[in-house]
């Protein structure tokens, strides 16, 4: 389904990039959220020249085996912790040569929240001209599904058989604290909002961070066809807030959840990773409420922005 003309209700236009960013026949599992993301990114990129920098993760496997290339753009595969460092090198060289190239890191949650955390934080602190996209499947997919610090509490992984005890790290807050020009969370179920943010982030200079909740049927033990629906439920229930932060200051909530237990129960029940631990909506609600109270204060809005 790599060349589908329709995505999220949008038709492909002549302005779109002719070449897919993630080519057909790649190794991603069916229903992988990262594949959806790459289709949307392709459209947002349009005719901008891009280079992809990808650390060890499922995205590195999707590059395919030598000498083919799974990506329709020049791509550098780096060591697990080094995407943001290598991207700093490439971005500086592009700038020294007056090139318009947009250097994009595509990294998993492991390469972002965990092993590559210091590297990414340092590149953000230096405000390197990098678009850093973390596709967060909340698990180490590549190595068969171990916990990361992005794994939510209650999720069973191959090395937390009883369900992870600790809450997910709040990376957006950390990125906001870096006062980078732009940080945003993206919902694959809200294509308009996502396309707008992708385009905005592509055009900005400096370090831009995008956080994408990326359904992983293999790791989440969920139905491949339900990925987008799961994201919609995550957004509706409030467990995945969709917002953007400008210069670490202005917080803007983009999609207003309905905070329904129905959505949350549905989100949990459609993924077997939550079932074995016996997690209930009520267990998660206090943490969601706390998170949202914070966001409300930061965004300065008490009134809901938009209902889904």
């Amino acid at each position: 389904m790599m060349n589908e003309p329709l995505l999220g209700g949008m038709a492909q236009t002549v302005l779109d990039r002719g070449e897919p960013l993630l080519r057909p026949g790649n190794t991603n599992c069916g229903g992988c959220g990262m594949s959806n993301l790459m289709q949307m990114l392709r459209r947002a990129v349009a005719d901008r020249p891009v280079q992809l920098i990808i650390p060890a993760c499922c995205g590195a496997i999707a590059a395919g085996s030598f000498p083919q290339s799974g990506y329709g753009a020049p791509t550098l595969l780096t060591t697990f912790a080094s995407a943001a460092a290598a991207a700093s090198g490439a971005a500086n060289v592009a700038q020294l040569n007056g090139e318009e190239t947009r250097v994009i890191c595509l990294a998993g949650d492991g390469g972002t929240y965990d092993i590559g955390f210091a590297t990414m934080s340092a590149a953000a602190e230096r405000n390197e001209d990098i678009l850093y996209i973390c596709y967060d499947n909340e698990i180490y997919g590549n190595t068969g599904g171990q916990r990361s610090s992005a794994t939510p509490a209650g999720a069973v992984t191959s090395n937390t058989p009883g369900g992870k005890k600790e809450e997910k790290k709040d990376l957006m807050a950390i990125m906001a604290a870096h006062r980078i020009p732009y940080a945003a969370s993206l919902s694959l179920a809200h294509a308009d909002d996502t396309m707008r943010k992708l385009r905005h982030a592509l055009d900005l200079k400096g370090f831009r961070f995008l956080h994408v909740l990326s359904p992983c049927p293999t790791g989440w033990k969920s139905e491949p066809a339900l990925g987008i629906e799961l994201v919609r439920l995550a957004v509706r229930s409030g467990i995945f807030p969709v917002f953007e932060v400008f210069d670490g200051q202005r917080h803007q909530i983009n999609i207003e959840p309905d905070f329904s237990d129905e959505a949350l129960e549905m989100y949990l029940s459609l993924q077997r990773r939550f079932q074995r631990s016996g997690l209930k909506a009520a267990d998660l609600r206090p943490a969601i409420d706390r998170h949202w109270q914070n966001l409300r204060v930061l965004s300065g809005r008490i009134v809901p922005a938009k209902r889904v």
Partner: protein, 386 residues
């Protein structure tokens, strides 16, 4: 050409700066740097230079320093970094990547003991730990050699027949912090010596991947290419040395430096500054009529096997000095030379200056006494046991 008083750290950084500026008509220069004793002054010096079309990125670790160099070289720029000891160990993962991606990055190492327990003094064990990864390795014996070798390293690394990282080693403090008169060429001379960097596999605009999955046979083919290019680098080095001499009117020693070797029966073989100490001892002993010579191995990877064989042919006794230890086996240079020396030769290993211990002419005289008293080689001998 003008003489300047420079430490070897500053000499390396100045050579890198001149090389960086020389690429202003190419794709420029970009480097990631991080401090560690005794290499720090190299990156500090670099950070204080203005480099037209150049950028030095002050990163948060050596791992990222090499990460930046990888990204920069993959984007077609000239690249350089400097480190030592634990910094090199921390960088190792990306050194593998830089080597296997065949990126022409120059790296200086101010050799220092690995820790903890912390020890900041010279030991070759840090660089030798990366012996097998596909980086060319030079070991220098004085400041001028450090300066010249760094310049030559760019030319060698970027040669289309070579294309791989080059590591230039200097012993921490012994060289890194010792100030010596150093001849520094003009920018024009360096421009003439270093053509603009060309990285044929650079990212550019055509879709292709660098560093993606390979299947066993492909890896085998790439290893073979890398191996052959590394072995061929020695012939390229000869050309680079000749070109160096033409441009700068100064000789750059090649792969090995023989000293009074012609009629020598007993030879001291070593890496780095111990080679100069050995030369002094050779002078002393020659005055007493002893047929002693010294052989300094400057190029350790690729190991100049043919040339070493030629130099060591007919030599009956070898004292191999190692400022490093492969724990449980012995000195690393010794391990490599055993297969190269004449089959009948007595090849004895002496572990000298581990952890930065001073190696004086008197130590080497004791070593030669020990060597001459032996009828056969034994286990590696620690200096303190002599």
């Amino acid at each position: 050409m003008k003489g300047e008083l420079l430490s070897a750290n500053h000499a390396a950084a100045l050579a890198a700066t001149l090389a960086a500026r020389a690429n202003r008509f190419g794709r420029g220069f970009c480097s990631g740097v991080y401090p560690i004793t005794p290499s720090t002054e190299c990156m500090e010096f670099l950070c204080n230079q203005t480099i037209e079309k150049g950028k030095v990125v002050r990163v948060e670790s050596e791992h990222s320093a090499m990460g930046v160099c990888i990204g920069a070289a993959a984007a077609g720029a000239r690249s350089f970094t400097a480190t030592a000891s634990n910094g090199l160990a921390y960088m190792a993962e990306n050194c593998v990547a830089a080597a296997s991606l065949r990126l022409p990055i120059v790296l200086t190492v101010a050799n220092r003991t690995l820790g903890p327990p912390w020890n900041i003094w010279a030991d070759h064990g840090d660089a030798l730990m990366l012996r097998d990864l596909g980086l060319i390795q030079f070991y220098c014996a004085d400041n001028q050699e450090v300066f010249d070798t760094v310049l030559a390293a760019f030319r060698l690394a970027e040669d289309p027949r070579v294309l791989m990282p080059v590591m230039v080693c200097m012993e921490g403090f012994i060289l890194s912090h010792t100030v010596a008169q150093t001849d520094v060429p003009s920018q024009e001379e360096v421009d003439a010596f270093l053509p603009p960097t060309r990285v044929p596999q650079q990212l550019g605009t055509t879709p292709h991947s660098l560093g993606q999955i390979e299947l066993p046979r492909q890896t085998e083919a790439h290893r073979k290419q890398h191996h052959e290019a590394m072995r061929g680098a020695q012939a390229v080095l000869d050309e680079v040395c000749a070109e160096f001499e033409r441009t700068f009117q100064r000789e750059l020693p090649g792969a090995v430096v023989p000293y009074s070797m012609e009629d020598a029966e007993t030879v001291i073989v070593s890496l780095g500054t111990m080679g100069l100490t050995a030369e002094r001892v050779v002078n002393r002993l020659r005055e007493r009529g002893q047929k002693v010579g010294a052989l300094r191995v400057r190029l350790f990877r690729p190991l100049p096997v043919q040339e070493l064989r030629r130099q060591l042919a007919g030599k009956r006794r070898l004292a191999v000095l190692d400022r490093d230890l492969s724990v449980g086996l012995g000195g690393i240079l010794w391990c490599e030379l055993r297969g190269i020396a004449d089959p009948g030769a007595l090849v004895q290993n002496y572990l000298t200056g581990l952890g930065g211990g001073d190696v004086c002419p008197e130590h080497l005289e004791r070593i030669l006494e020990d060597l001459c008293s032996r009828s056969e080689a034994g286990d590696p001998v620690f200096l303190e046991d002599l």
